[in-house]
Amino acid sequence: MLLLAVAPFFAGPASAADRIAVQSAQLMLADDGDGGLMLDAQFDFELPPVLEDAVNRGIALYFVVEFELFRPRWYWFDKKLIDETRTFRLTYSPLTRQYRLATGALAQPFDSLADALATLRRVRGWQVADRGLIRPDDKYTAQVRMRLDTSQLPKPFQINALTNRDWTLASDWRNVPFSADLAK
């Protein structure tokens, strides 16, 4: 019992076997002239059985994609220019036996979990920055990652998340190549 009280200290950061891999990520300019920077990313992961079971029972899983843009400074830490997140909510409705993937107000129904996950894995056309924020002559670094947001889960699952590795599903920060062409 005593161990339980101090267990939170010992549940380390995500070094779990279940990880999200960032297969690819790239920044593009929007098609229209005054559009901003768009991010395309492809993630790869498998939903562990525990999470799958949770979803099938109606628990909503929240996946968060985070994007950060830095301008490196030689005299201090890099300056973070952009810090954007996008949250996807994956739910299952046992009544209709349909999965829904929602982003903000937009929701998409899926008949199978695989379909939903396939769509979730692909992030396409996410506007992360206005054009004007990028100066042509500066150097920038960008990184992106996706993780399961356990803070949105109900409290008992947060405890589980602390002690059970299956619940810590996250990827590492992956550098997004940022070419000077984009600045132009």
């Binding site: 019992m1 005593l2 339980l4 009280a5 101090v6 939170p8 200290f9 079971d53 949770a54 029972r57 109606g58 628990i59 409705s93 046992p94 009544l95 209709t96 036996r97 349909q98 829904r100 929701a107 129904p109 803070s151 109900p154 409290k155 008992p156 699952f157 947060q158 405890i159 589980n160 602390l162 002690t163």
Partner: protein, 794 residues
Amino acid sequence: MLVPAPAISRALRYGLLTALALGGVLLFLLASASGNTQAFERNYPLLLAINGAIAAALLVLVIMLVARLVRRWRAKRFGARLMARFALAFALMGVAPGFLIYIVSVQFLQRSIESWFDVRVDRALESGLSLGRAALEAQLADVTGKARVMALELADVPESQQLGQLERMRERVGLHEALLVTASGRLIGATDARSGSGFDELVPELPALADLRQARSQRTFAKVEGDPLATDPRAGLRARVIVPIPASTTPPNDVEGFATSPRGMLLAPARTEVRLLQVVQRVPPSVAANAEALQNGYREYQELSLSRSGLQKIYTATLTLTLLLAIFAAIATGVLLAASLAAPLLQLAEGTKSVAEGDYRPVREFRGSDELNLLTQSFNAMTRQLGEARDAVEARSRELENARAYLERVLTNLSAGVIVLDKDHRLVTANYGASRILGISLAPHVGQPFADLAPAMAQQVAGCFSDQQLAATPKDSWQQQMEIKRAGGQRDAEPLALLARGSHLPLDDGPGYVVVFDDITQVISAQRAVAWGEVARRLAHEIKNPLTPIQLAAERLQMKLADKLPIDQAEVLARGATTIVNQVAAMKRMVDDFRDYARVPPARLVALDLNALIDEVAALYGVEKRRRNPAPDAPAIELALARGLPFIEGDATQLRQVIHNLLANATDALQPREAGGAESGGRIVVRTEAVAIDDPAAPAGKTKQAVRLSVEDNGPGFPANILRRAFEPYVTTKPSGTGLGLAMVRKIVDEHGARIELINRSVAAGGGASVTIVFRRVIQAVAAEPTGARRRVA
């Protein structure tokens, strides 16, 4: 002030209290956050971590406290055991119930949580879900049926009119939406139940190609879809059915261009492509609401079920943290309480120890009205009184000591002798006076029978005490004059005359006797002198009267009968008369001497130069001697007169007589030498000198000037038995002396307030006698003319 070091330093105490307070607050937060509520959902692990940190901090503090206690116990510091016992008792009182409650709570918790998840509830929910699904399925089937009917009917309608028919059919059948699409997914037309003008509507949701394909291959696509929780009715639960429109039996006969239906829908040119009909029927609100409730309930139940272990962990963690906090709080409070309770007791114990060692310092007093605090105050009052009592006792014993010392000094300096005897007449105490009077040292012989020490006196004392007891009228004390032989004196030395008084004295271990005695030999001789004086006066008076008649008668006889008698008888008469007259004259002289002795006139004291007087007298003597008897072996009189001798107060006539007497005595003492014809060598020295004597009237240490006159001779000296009584009348060594000379000298000396002493000089100093007179009444001025040094008077 006795203050033992505080058991718990102030810093530690405050740290403990702060930690406890903080822990309490955070625990409350944790407890309210635990469970299936919305509170603190985002930061729950953080809260847990903070509480854990507080618990760890408290653990450290408690370990410090306990270690401190153990250290003090090991070092055997005063009060450590008491505090440890208290602390243990309090801590146990707090911990044991807490532990019990914890165990019971945990058990209760686990069973409760388990009881939530009943199989029946599970089954009920599943059944509900099935029911819901069945209802939806039923609706779907209904819509499918209607769609098929519509499709069959539309098949018979030419394509250009299908849209118009669609609307009518839709309304008739009572569907919410109807859509016509081609197999490739292109929209042909749509109608909507919601509003009249479909043109202003949003673009309807086109079915996916996959759905169309499925509809074509399986002849029906039916699905219930939507989000039961959605608020937008368009996104809510609905049944969607796609059926292909079968090939029409009537050939198409009008190839018109674009036509607009009354609804103004877009028309596509008729093709021979397969068309599909999609109808959407929204689930009625009540059913939707129920479905929503069911889904929510199911989800929540599943959440609970899944999170069973998590919940258990949460609750157990909360309980454990609570228990830990409570335990630490109990231990800390126990120690604090023990410290505060034990502090007065320890003070008292230390104070008691100090009092036992004689240290009466006050202990630290505790404010507060409970009994322990009052005890310390009472303790201090007690020690204060003890201290005062002890001081009083010491003061009194000092006083007693002083009184005793004073008494002892008085006793010691008493001229009278005090002897204390016990019931067996053994010596208990003897003062210095007793030893001095008796002439034997009594102090070392305490405990010995008095009879061994002074037999004569002891016998008489014993006799007196027994007489006292046998007396007819018993008195408290007896008084007796006794004469005892002097110790160590010559055989015929004058006995000691003592006046003794004795009485009973109760001693610690029985009855005792106390005897007080005075040496009254001097007193007796003085009394004797007075008595003699009186006798002398009376006798002189009485005798003198008949003397003159006798003389006269004798003279007359001679006168009258001298010539009437024959020669030889006349001679006899003459001789007889002469003898009578001579003897009467002698008797007269004697009587005169007596009268003189008895009636010495009071001295008229004036300032007097002693040296001058001595010169006068000596001159007389020397001249007289020379004149009368210039024998070469007459004793020589030397004068050794000090220069600058102060004047004394004296009567010249009387002092002349004194000097005359002394010189006469000295000369007489040396006469036998002369008569025996032995070698001369008799010397008489008359010496004066100024001396310093203690002046009782002056401040301590100051001495007074006095004048000493001594007449020394180197004759045989004074016989021992005469020495004490020399000044008494009729005491003389001369065969033809009256014995009144020295008595007179004594009287005169007394009148002058001076002191006289008779000394036998030691052989080393030349032997012989010395008479010394110390004149105390001195005029403190130097004599005008020094009388010079020695002068031999041959």
